[in-house]
Subunit: 693 residues, 2 copies
């Protein structure tokens, strides 16, 4: 855990950081304790995965061509099978462990090896295999899962089409039941209905789970999943065709491609029939009566993709900040008060660039742990009511967008903070950023997901206030309703009544404390939702065009409300995580939490000011508090905070985080010291001129 | 110009956009006129460059390995030589045209072909060649430039070292004059002093302009440039060594690498001696007495790198938005009020994502034209005073950061707005983004550049108020000083006195007009600078450590003030550009300018609220005005606005902007219409259930 750690505060540290270090000496982080704590409920699975990731045969090789990269990653999947680490999530009946949380935890770490390896595993076992597991029944488990688990059958998850990504319910592919033969006929009626962007489709897949409109007896029962063989050793099977998606912005170790079907016949048994079935005579039946609910239930079983992308974004952010902050504590540039050059992280701007993002990463990490526990609760059956599933989906839709966007931002700021060195592939940022780019739009487009969250918040609000009068609504907005209006999706109700933040002259101490942060963050979500609900109420009295226009005219704010909700979830998780920390660690981590919470309030200061929740004086005080107190206080702990992420050199694999920069600085310093001591150092022209005067 | 243009408002346009279109029918853009206007003062050079760029041999090939890509780009440079388009900036005496603006304009367009081609040309002729031209004298021009221009001598620009990027004055490489032999000895004293990240250094360069500390007679005269042969057909010359930088985040068609020198001897004549010379006996002389001013004068001659990166960022942003907005007007997803799916750009969120970035791109484009004219003025000698050069450098330091950051943001938002299709290399975004990433930190790190701007603003402020009392300062902050305090660097002084924006109840009409936008934007820059000056005043009374700490404690705000200044420059350029537009075009373009200006004010609303420049009511009104008026108004003109950028299919080279998406939509629509007409369409289960009830 300490292999990379120079002393927490180097003796050369100048200026602000030195002052702050003196003021805050007692607070220290127990790095080993925090590191273990961060690994969470499935620490063993994570550690095991990190041990495997040390093996060079799993590491990404920069500059490998697409074809070689694809073959390498396929081979890596084979290694994972050989090492027996892909079975965790599958049923015990077929040799699995029914360990859903542990499976995702170990999977998330794979991003440290190569994001292509991670996502190709995700395609094979998390999408293709998971669809068979969750949407299929016993016959599919027994008949299909063993070959999927062993990689004997690599497969594609054929949901998205060129023409329909976010709106899966509208895919064009059809699966029409033919009573005469007892077969489904899979068909692609037009170009936009080609399945697209599918991992394993361009080269390696021999089967696919195909999502298609199930039509029997002249009725379309909506989208269902079908197991369809697509290739054998001679290439595509009759009626199946496709294309290679070619080079992508990243993840080029995965063979994404397109598939289309020309009246391809499959046995009736190939319908994955857990939620909908067709009898031999063509009669449709389902355990879920409502077609809409059935569709969302089927999709809901695939939430693990969003869980794991959220967790992977956290891991990648931790890696980026470990590299950037390690470098920032060794790299020097420009002199200020003395002849010694200043360490980058002693510059206020550099702190402003990296430390709030470090706080955000901690918040994301704690929120992800909450999320992963909720996921495991549902899929282990421990907490698996309809409400639990809906809550899980809402958490997923709120957190995955925030963390995947944040990861790109953190990777980019980290890269820029290392200058030209940050641009070299050998220092990891650029390749990881290229790979993670797509995380923002796959497994649910981030904007579309946030809109789902907003609809949920509005729905909860409407359910609560179905028959409420204006006065009740006003009281709710003012925060005086004590109930759990939107709490199911994780929103904690305020216990205090809202006070007028703007009217008093109390110091920043007021907004700094935990209760005030909670109040400000919670109030913003509630008020935005209430205001939107008020505006959208009129929709019920409008015609469909006008109602759609009204909704659309509020779309941007809906999405912002959902974002605020997600930020609150992160803040609450961080705050809850503080409780069990040892005192000295908790002290520092509370500053980190404050930097996150006050950073959110600062980011949304305009809202707080416009809505009278903060006075101008207090809004300014928050910025000053961050700049003058929190950043200098946290500066001496920055290395401990990244070292707690627990990466070893085989995970970092970045030259600038290897100690090489410190060695170069030391060598140069010795050279100049020796030169001065020798008496042979040239005189500076400037100094000479000053002397002459 | 119109080859890609479907009708401005498609008949299917629904909802908001339809309403807005009806309301604003009279305002139309003269696309041909605007397109020509955007090409600016060097339209012919740009057009010529764009014609060349149509040739497939200049186009980037995605997925080419690094080695092949480097060879291809070297070959492309040879084509540019053959076609006679690299000579423009060089002196007429050696066959050039002394056409500085035209050279940069044509160069900027090259990003459309391949950014590697652009930057490798920039290394060869804009850095290596330009250093010989601007820092050398007649003997160097005659002796060296012809082979540089013809690419007979590919060369590296060896300024940056592994240990010093932003702080060039502190490079470690030495050039010590040996009176005995009349030679300079070029030497790398330690690892951190290796030259690094140099294009042409890994493979192709046979010479380099090396920046080193000039030492003669025991005095270090600071950094000077030396022409140093480094390779012949057998590889590195004796004493020279190096390394390949390997794979980078982008620009992999360029052979970046490292160089180091072990007591390498070069003739005295190889000192590029325009600003500093050494006589045979070792006596140093310079036309510029102050070593500091001499250094900055030398660096200042190389400002063209920043000019061209600013322009390239504009071209890339235009390309990205042309692709994303074209797609957004054809792509449909989800239904709202009818069975027809909604066109993406009719969603408010999609408008919010793309249209403000389109406005920003126009602002960047007009600001760049101002910048390019200033550059040409200085380098043509038409406006070449010290003040002109300082202004040019300040404009460069303000605009290059804003536009290069914006380009990354615009490329990313464009990519995400196209979903999975946006991630495919064939649709351009991801590869361009990878290449342009480094534009934010090379040719001056963006944060460091903005700090230079802030220092200039503070310097101008201090010069103006050297002996001012507190009352005068207060009047200045209140805007009642009519003079040109900081106007040299482009800041326009307010002619109106500041009114209390917060105290009246006038409508959004107030902040909407041009004068109010100017006042708000200008006031912010002035007030931030004045406040910083006030706080930093104390530094003169402090010791060096405390003074450095004080400066550092304000660093973040200094950089924000510089950013505000850059944004104002963009806004002023946009506003000035409106003047000569035909009325109908000007009407639409004024909305675009308003979207840019009000967008800036919205972004900084917290500052305006905290500092009492906007009331809460007005701040909210600005957001509402953008959402409810400007976006719907501009929606019908979005395609015209990107078509005015004038790209042809050979420039776009993006499948999703080729009309393919429209063809797919049409085909699917026809399929469903035919199916309905045939009477064979399956019934929806949901519809069936509704009927039964």
């Amino acid at each position: 855990m300490t292999q990379l750690a120079p002393p927490t505060t180097s003796p050369e540290t100048t200026g602000t950081a030195r002052t702050a270090a003196a003021a805050t000496a007692p607070a220290t982080i127990d790095v080993a304790w925090l590191g273990e704590y961060l690994l969470g409920a499935w620490a063993e699975e994570r550690k095991h995965s990190r041990e495997l990731i040390k093996r060079p045969e799993l590491h990404r090789i920069d500059g490998l061509g697409m074809a070689d990269h694809r073959e390498r990653v396929l081979g890596q999947l084979g290694l994972l099978v050989d090492w027996g680490v892909v079975h965790r999530a599958f049923p015990k009946s077929v040799g699995g462990e029914d360990n859903h949380g542990g499976n995702i935890a170990s999977f998330e770490e794979l991003v440290l090896a190569d994001a292509s390896l991670q996502i190709k595993s995700g395609v094979q076992w998390g999408l293709f295999g998971a669809a068979v597991m969750h949407l299929g029944t016993e016959k599919h488990h027994t008949g299909l899962l063993p070959d999927i688990m062993s990689l004997k059958v690599p497969g594609a998850f054929a949901m998205t089409e060129t023409g329909h990504g976010s709106d899966v319910a509208a895919v064009g592919t059809t699966a029409t039941y033919d009573e005469a033969t007892g077969e489904f006929v899979i068909h692609t009626p037009f170009r936009a209905a080609w399945k697209d962007y599918l991992g394993n489709a361009a080269l390696h897949g021999t089967a696919a789970v195909v999502f298609a409109q199930l039509i029997t007896k002249g009725v379309n029962h909506g989208v269902h999943a079908f197991y369809v063989p697509i290739r054998d050793e001679n290439g595509f099977l009759p009626g199946v065709g496709g294309e290679d998606d070619g080079i992508k912005g990243g993840l080029n170790g995965i063979d994404n491609g397109r598939l289309h079907f020309d009246q391809v016949r499959i046995p009736r048994d190939n319908l994955l029939n857990r939620y909908g079935d067709v009898a031999e005579d063509g009669t449709y039946s389902s355990v879920i009566g409502s077609p809409g609910r059935r569709f969302f239930t089927m999709l809901g079983t695939l939430v693990q993709g969003r869980v794991s992308l959220d967790g992977s974004a956290v891991v990648a952010s931790k890696l980026a900040l470990t590299i950037a902050i390690t470098y920032a504590t060794q790299r020097r540039q420009f002199t200020a008060a003395s002849d010694d050059e200043v360490v980058l992280l002693d510059y206020q701007r550099h702190q402003r660039r990296l430390l709030p993002r470090l706080a955000q990463t901690y918040a994301m990490s704690f929120a992800h742990e909450t999320f992963l526990n909720a996921f495991d609760g549902v899929f282990s059956g421990a907490h698996d009511t309809d409400a639990d599933r809906q809550d899980l989906e809402t958490i997923a839709a709120a957190l995955k967008p925030l963390s995947t966007w944040a990861a790109l931002d953190i990777l980019q700021e980290s890269r820029e903070s290392c200058g030209g060195a940050g641009f070299l592939a050998q220092n990891r940022f650029t390749q990881l950023r290229a790979d993670l780019d797509i995380y923002t739009t796959f497994e649910g487009d981030n904007n579309v997901l946030l809109q789902l969250v907003a609809k949920r918040l509005l729905g909860d609000y409407a359910a609560k206030f179905k028959n409420a009068d204006a006065a009740t609504l006003a009281r709710y907005v003012a925060g005086s309703v004590g109930a759990t209006a939107v709490s199911r999706s994780g929103l904690r109700q305020l216990s205090q009544s809202i006070v007028d933040f703007g009217s008093t002259a109390r110091s920043v101490g007021y907004v700094r404390d935990e209760a005030s942060q909670r109040q400000l963050l919670t109030d913003r979500v509630q008020s935005m939702v209430a205001a939107l609900a008020g505006r959208l109420r009129a929709a019920s009295k409008l015609g469909p065009v006008a109602a759609a226009d009204l909704f659309n005219a509020n779309q941007d704010e809906l999405i912002e409300a959902a974002r605020a909700h997600g930020e609150l979830l992160q803040w609450e998780s961080f705050t809850a995580a503080l409780e069990s920390m040892p005192a000295a660690t908790r002290q520092v981590m509370t500053w980190v939490r404050d930097l996150f919470g006050l950073g959110l309030i600062e980011k949304h200061a305009a809202w707080y000011l416009i809505n009278g929740r903060l006075s101008a004086h207090r809004a300014q005080a928050i910025t000053d508090y961050i700049d003058d107190r929190l950043l200098p206080r946290l500066r001496p702990h920055a290395l401990d905070l990244v070292n707690a992420f627990g990466f070893e050199p085989e995970h970092l694999r970045a030259e600038i985080a290897s100690g090489a920069e410190q060695a170069r600085q030391d060598e140069a310093a010795v050279y100049y010291a020796d030169l001065r001591a020798s008496g042979n150092a040239p005189v500076e022209e400037k100094a000479l001129k000053a002397k002459k005067r």
